[in-house]
Symmetry: C2
Subunit: 230 residues, 2 copies
DNA sequence: CGGCGCCTTGACTGGATTCAACCGCAGTGG
DNA sequence: CCACTGCGGTTGAATCCAGTCAAGGCGCCG
């Protein structure tokens, strides 16, 4: 799951053990309350979730989408700051993972040589920061069409990293309403934008799966430079 | 500067020593190149800077604004990911701060008891993440008017933390073009929105300083809940 | 004076939201 | 069995917030 760093055999064993007995959680379940100072560390094993924030009048903004393999709530927060609540978008499988954090923190002689788990968690944080930056650029400076293209490419790359993409086709279990809340659009405009992408032959959607039919074209539209630099 | 955690006397001495001889840097200077894996750790002592990303066609999005006291480039990145480049927005004073990072990393017995400096840097990262989340919500779900109000309140709070606000008045040395690139607006619309805020008696601008004349009203417009929770 | 950076203004355009309605489908219960 | 309901997707029309284009003003400085 957290394939971000080389783990020692016993770290891998611990990871396997921790994720062996996942708990089923329905859609729209809150995994971390907003502002919680000491959330329970968890790993999302199956299903999609998100970090989101609500405005007083009901508007919702999804800050990042969380996919299978992503760690949740590993950072202890000093004060109770509003990082947004973590909520499932689909039915999901989740694991309690306090043991991972403890193991990551122990073992270190001085921190100059950190454990594999600590490195993996650090890397996971880094990736989440990248997704946040991507999100800011999408929302701030891209059109609806570009935003969707960019977001789909990011999803493809992240899902490919956990081996859930086959020939640019992957499961896509969220409604257009959720997509709209992620990309800062209205549902209606989200719908029209998806239709445009389909009409242009760039994506194909069937049931709960999506296929990116022309990744280079999408990348050019979205000005997308994958995670591996320029 | 990094008043985020209690420092030991010698940590404070080191901090003072490191920030004693700042280097002057002109506006529009690049402090960290985009994608740089091992940036030089620095502290912004005076002036404003930002993390930004450019699109291929020249559009610019400012991801976060950096203010006096903020650390820059302290995180070692594994791969060369695009976090955006760090660039000064005004003439600035900057300090090389590698010594701080080394000191923060050493000294730890096991990491269960981290140094004051390490705690401060961790806290600084947390705050930056909050600002990112705020930015996403502003760009995704708020109108121009709300965005500006929200952003000004965030600036006030951050500047107050480093004692640069007097009676809701603080230095505001950036152009409307920069503001526009931060808030995802065009310069023209930025201008009109500022005018509206002035006409409504919410802010007052003279030269390079700004006064928030009605913080509660601004907070209500922007749905702003300061850093200290609800 | 002339040029430049920044702010300002007006007119026009357009991307996106809103409101409202309709459709197809799956689940559900009388 | 089938009306009823709810959800998600789809459409059209009207509206509006924000972008674009273009021009002018003002202060500063060489």
């Amino acid at each position: 799951m957290s394939g971000y760093a080389r783990l020692t055999p016993d770290e891998e064993a611990l990871l396997r053990q921790v994720t062996a007995r996942p708990v089923a959680v329905p859609a729209r379940a809150e995994l971390v309350r907003d502002g919680e100072a000491a959330p329970r560390p968890q790993v999302l094993v199956e299903g999609w979730a998100c970090r989101q924030r609500l405005l007083a009048d009901g508007r919702r903004q999804i800050v990042v989408v969380l996919l299978p393999g992503d760690p949740i709530g590993f950072d202890l927060r000093r004060r109770s700051l509003s990082f947004g609540s973590v909520t499932t978008l689909t039915p999901a499988l989740v694991c309690e993972a306090g043991a991972l954090r403890e193991r990551a923190a122990s073992r270190g002689t001085p921190p100059d040589r950190e454990t594999g788990l600590a490195a993996a968690l650090r890397q996971a944080r880094e990736m989440e920061e990248i997704w946040l930056v991507n999100q800011v650029v999408r929302l701030g400076r891209q059109t609806a069409y570009e935003r969707v293209a960019h977001f789909l490419l990011e999803l493809r790359e992240r899902l490919a990293a956990v081996d859930r993409v086959q020939e640019n086709r992957f499961s896509f279990p969220i409604t257009q309403e959720v997509l709209a809340d992620a990309l800062g659009l209205s549902v209606v405009h989200m719908n029209r934008t998806m239709q445009q992408l389909r009409r242009d032959g760039l994506v194909e959607q069937r049931a709960t799966a999506i296929t990116l039919r022309d990744v280079p074209a999408l990348a050019s539209i979205a000005d997308y430079a994958g995670a591996h630099g320029p």
